[in-house]
C-alpha cells in the first residue's frame, strides 16, 4: 500500500522509523515537511530523508509543497501528522479534504480538523468511498477509538472519563511526590521535554478538552465544540491542596469527563482516591469507559511520544490495508 506523509516532526519520523524497522508493506510515495516535499511513485528513500531531516536540512525539495503532495502524488492513504491548530484546523483541514475528494483514505494524528469538522469530513469520506481514521488524535498509543468502535460495538457508553493529558499528570505527580510548587513542577516538565515553552494548551486543559470533543462527536454521536466544554486547568493548584488530599489517601488529577445523557463535558482537577485505577504516574494517560454490557473498562498507556503515536497511526493504516482493494 502506498502512503503520503504530511509532517516530518516527531510523529512523522516515528512512522518512518517503524516502516524502516518492520516489514509493514508500506511504500512512501509522497513526503512533506513545512518547508519542502518529495514525490516519487517508485518509493522515497525514507532512510535518506530521515538523515537529511535529522541533519537539520529540509526533507525534500523546496519546490514541492504539502499541497502538491496531496494533489499530485500517487498514494492510497494520506497520513496527515502535522501539528494541531485548534483555531481553524488549517492547513491540515484543507489537505484532508483534498485527499478525500481524490478518493484517498486519510489517517491523521491532528486534533484540529477532527475536533472542528468531524461530521463534514466523515460524510466526505463516505461520499468518496474511503476511510477516515484518527486513532492517534486521542491518548497517543492507547487504541481507545478502535476499542470503542470495534471491541465495544453494541455497548451503550454511559460515561467516559480519565487522564487525557500527560503533561498535567506529570506536574501533578511531581507536586504530590515531592511537595513541589506548580511552577517548580512545570519547570521540571519543561526540562524533560514534557511541556512546551508555552504550556497554556496543556495546563489550561485545552488539549484534554479537544480530546473530549473528538470522542463526544466521533464516538458518542454528540454535536459539541470546544466552547461546550466546562474547563478548569491546573495552574492554581498548590502543594498544600495536594497534601490535604493526601491526608485522606487521595490525590488530585486533571480529569476529563463526558456523560452523554446528562450532557456533561468537563475538564477539571478532581480529588481521586490513590487506589483508583485512573491514578497513574508520570506522563501516562488513563481512561475509564463505562458501558452497559461490558461494565467499566480502564485503558492505561503512553499518551504521547514519537513511536507511541506512530503506533496508533500504523494501526489505522493496517486497518485500512486489510479492508481495501489495492490500486483502486
Amino acid at each position: 500500500m502506498r502512503i503520503a506523509i504530511l509532517g516530518f516532526g516527531s510523529v512523522g519520523r516515528g512512522i518512518a522509523r517503524a516502516i524502516l524497522a518492520k516489514n509493514l508493506d508500506l511504500a512512501v510515495t509522497g513526503l512533506a515537511d513545512s518547508r519542502s516535499g518529495i514525490i516519487d511513485p517508485a518509493g522515497i528513500d525514507i532512510a535518506a530523508a530521515l538523515a537529511r531531516k535529522e541533519g537539520g536540512a529540509p526533507c525534500g525539495s523546496p519546490d514541492v509543497s504539502p499541497a502538491d503532495v496531496v494533489a499530485k502524488a500517487d498514494y492510497d492513504v494520506l497520513v496527515e501528522v502535522t501539528p494541531t491548530n485548534v483555531d481553524d484546523g488549517e492547513p491540515a483541514l484543507g489537505h484532508i479534504r483534498g485527499a478525500l475528494r481524490r478518493h484517498k483514505h486519510v489517517v491523521t494524528s491532528n486534533k484540529g480538523p477532527i475536533a472542528l469538522a468531524y461530521p463534514e469530513l466523515r460524510d466526505l469520506a463516505a461520499a468518496n468511498g474511503v476511510f477516515l481514521r484518527y486513532e492517534a488524535t486521542v491518548c497517543g498509543a492507547i487504541p481507545l477509538i478502535h476499542a470503542m468502535q470495534e471491541g465495544l460495538a453494541g455497548n451503550t457508553i454511559s460515561r467516559l472519563y480519565g487522564v487525557f493529558n500527560g503533561t498535567c499528570n506529570y506536574i501533578l505527580t511531581r507536586m504530590a511526590e515531592d511537595s513541589l510548587t506548580y511552577e517548580q513542577a512545570l519547570a521540571e516538565a519543561r526540562e524533560l521535554g514534557y511541556a512546551e515553552a508555552d504550556p497554556t494548551y496543556d495546563v489550561e486543559g485545552i488539549d484534554a478538552a479537544i480530546k473530549l470533543v473528538i470522542l463526544a462527536n466521533a464516538i458518542l454521536d454528540m454535536r459539541t465544540t470546544l466552547d461546550d466544554v466546562e474547563r478548569t486547568g491546573i495552574t492554581l493548584l498548590t502543594p498544600e491542596a495536594l497534601r490535604l488530599a493526601e491526608d485522606q489517601d487521595c490525590t488530585i488529577r486533571l480529569i476529563g469527563e463526558v456523560v452523554p445523557e446528562a450532557g456533561v463535558l468537563r475538564v477539571s482537577p478532581r480529588i481521586v482516591s490513590k487506589v483508583h485505577p485512573l491514578v497513574v504516574e508520570g506522563t501516562l494517560n488513563a481512561v475509564t469507559v463505562g458501558t452497559d454490557l461490558a461494565g467499566d473498562l480502564t485503558f492505561i498507556g503512553k499518551g504521547a511520544g514519537s513511536v507511541e503515536t506512530a503506533s496508533a497511526v500504523i494501526g489505522d493504516l493496517l486497518y485500512i490495508r486489510d479492508r481495501h482493494v489495492q490500486g483502486s
Binding site: L237, T238, E240, A241, R253, P269, R270, I271, H276, L278
Partner: protein, 162 residues
Amino acid sequence: MKLEMRDQPGQLVAALQPISAVGGNIIAVIHQRETPAATEVLDVQIVLELPEGRLEKLLELLREQGVNVVRIGEQRLLYECTLITIGHLMHTDLSDTVDRIDTTGSAEVTDLSLAMPAINAPSSARITIRSTTREEMKKAIRILRSVAEQKDLLIIEPLEGV
C-alpha cells in the same frame, strides 16, 4: 427510632430482622424495662442507618411484625462529600462561605482543614460537607460552586460522587 412491642421471647429479633431486610445498619439498641404503665409491652430504642428512601418500607415491615413505631428521631447527616478549595479564603470571608452551606438547614460543613503558606499567597482548605440526602448534597455543592465563582476560588470536587 423508638419502638413498642409485646414483651415476649423472639419479639426483639422480629423487630430487628426487617432492618437488615431493607439494607439498614444497626448502630445501637437501647432496651429498658422501666415503663411502669404496661408490663406486657416492651420499649426499645434503635439507632440505625438506612439507605435513602427505605424508611417507608421498613415501617411497613415493622407493622407487619406487630411492632408499633412510637417515634422516629431526627435524621442524621448520612451523606458525606469532601472538597478542596484554593484561593484567598480568608480575605473572601471563609466563615461566610461555610455559612452559605450551613444555612440550607439540610447540609452542613462538619470539618475544615486550612493551610495558609504565606501572607497574600492563596490558601487551601479541605471542606467536608454532610447532608441528609443525596439531593441536598448536590444542592450544597451547587451553592459552593456559585460562591466560588463570586469569590474567585477554585473548587476541586471528588471524582466519584457522594
